[in-house]
């Protein structure tokens, strides 16, 4: 089973990134082979729809579960349409979270925020940008 985690750095010691759609990297851990891959999140610099594009890239890589501190509603729609389960991160250690996942100790992620998208929004009333 492939589990994706948004991470801050391209190395094994990296911590988890608080942003799902605009994280610089994703780590994918394959629980069957034990293999870990870290790759660039090419969606991070998109002007809009970053969460959608990022979620799409995980769908395309055959990910089945995501561990994240939070997730925007658009990304969550893509993930759930693809049957990918979302889990709430505990602490920011990749290792601890994978261990908790294996033990079935992670809770479902229900912190789905409305996102920061919206082309042409004012971005200046403290609202969406």
């Amino acid at each position: 089973m492939k589990i994706a985690i948004p991470v801050n750095e391209n190395n094994e010691q990296t911590t988890i990134c608080p942003s799902f759609g605009r994280t610089p990297f994703y780590l994918i851990a394959d629980t069957d082979s034990g293999e870990r891959v870290i790759f660039d999140n090419t969606a991070a610099n998109q002007a809009g729809g970053a969460g959608i594009a990022a979620a799409q890239s995980l769908v395309d890589r055959g990910v089945e579960a995501v561990i994240s501190p939070r997730c925007g509603e658009n990304a969550a729609r893509v993930l759930s349409a693809a049957g990918i389960k979302m889990y709430k991160m505990q602490g920011d250690s990749v290792e601890e979270n994978l261990k908790a996942f294996a033990e079935g100790a992670l809770l479902a992620l229900d912190d789905i925020h409305p996102g920061f998208h919206g082309p042409g929004g004012s971005g200046s009333r403290g609202g969406r940008e």
Partner: protein, 284 residues
């Protein structure tokens, strides 16, 4: 002549300046481009009798029966408004720009387009001022088609055009200043205000516009970061509007100050004169 009134944040005095400029201009068109929260109609009373027109834009409709999951549309959409999860394409209408590209490119004819209302434009007259006001439906995120509709209604015979822009420096503001002859930037006397002034000043420069600043809520002898900004960047100051309780009362009770008191009519006429001069290319 088109005057765009803008500011980097809400609440600096765009509507105060816009409605008063339109009022003192006599023959004028006041255009409320702040389609998320239009408020100019509170000052130009009579909007309940306005002629209203619905503004729509096109959204793709995907026929799952015809879709072959080829992904051409998903890979094409530069706004990431389409995703392929499982066998079907999902549309995210809150990031769709209605470009129509997906419908053109779909090789199996599975995508058609459907008009959907996103807001309305109202058009009415108060004395010698024509009022054009846009309003976006709650929940919509993309008001530019409404702003374009507003501009398409302007008639050159309607006199001086005063554009009350949305706050900020986003796409909606760029659309609002596109045809302006002069950009009047309203700024507050705070560090935050000067930061926001910088945002819109850079935007107006980028569009190669004539620029003038109105320093609102101005107090003599008090530190004014926005005034410093103008000095440092060589921006002409059209006027300093005093921090004045009477003016504030008129405005907060939805009265046009220039209509109420001669001193305010003179204040705003002076600003209009400077804007006119700058718009015609003169040094202000």
């Amino acid at each position: 002549m088109k005057i765009a009134v803008l500011s980097g944040k809400a609440g600096t005095g765009k509507t105060l300046l816009s409605v008063n400029l339109a009022y003192v201009a006599k023959e004028a068109t006041y255009v409320d481009c702040d389609v998320e929260e239009p408020n100019g109609h509170l000052y130009f009373k009579g909007s309940e009798d306005a002629k209203r027109t619905t503004v729509s834009r096109k959204f793709p409709v995907i026929d799952d029966g015809k879709c072959t999951s080829c992904r051409v549309c998903v890979d094409f959409c530069r706004f990431n408004a389409l995703a392929m999860a499982g066998e079907t394409v999902t549309l995210f209408d809150n990031v769709c720009h209605s470009c129509g590209g997906c419908a053109i490119l779909c090789p199996s004819g599975a995508i058609s387009e459907e008009d959907r209302s996103i807001g309305e434009v109202s058009d009415y007259r108060v004395g010698s001022v024509r009022v054009l006001s846009g309003k976006m439906n709650t929940g919509e995120a993309f008001g530019i088609p409404i702003i374009r509709t507003l501009f398409s209604r302007i008639d050159p015979s309607d006199g001086t055009v005063v554009v009350d822009c949305p706050p900020g420096s986003s796409c909606a503001v760029m659309e609002s200043i596109r045809d302006a002859d002069v950009c009047v930037l309203v700024a507050e006397p705070t560090i935050f205000g000067s930061h926001n002034l910088d945002m819109v000043a850079r935007l107006a420069k980028l569009f190669d516009k004539q620029i003038g600043v109105v320093l609102n809520k101005y107090e003599e002898g008090r530190e004014n970061p926005s005034e410093h900004y103008c000095e440092e960047n060589g921006l002409p100051v059209f006027e300093k509007i005093p921090f004045d309780k009477d003016l504030g009362m008129h405005h907060s009770e939805a009265r046009i100050a220039a209509q109420e008191e001669k001193r305010y009519a003179e204040l705003f006429s002076g600003i209009l004169g400077k804007a006119n001069k700058a718009a015609s290319g003169g040094v202000s």
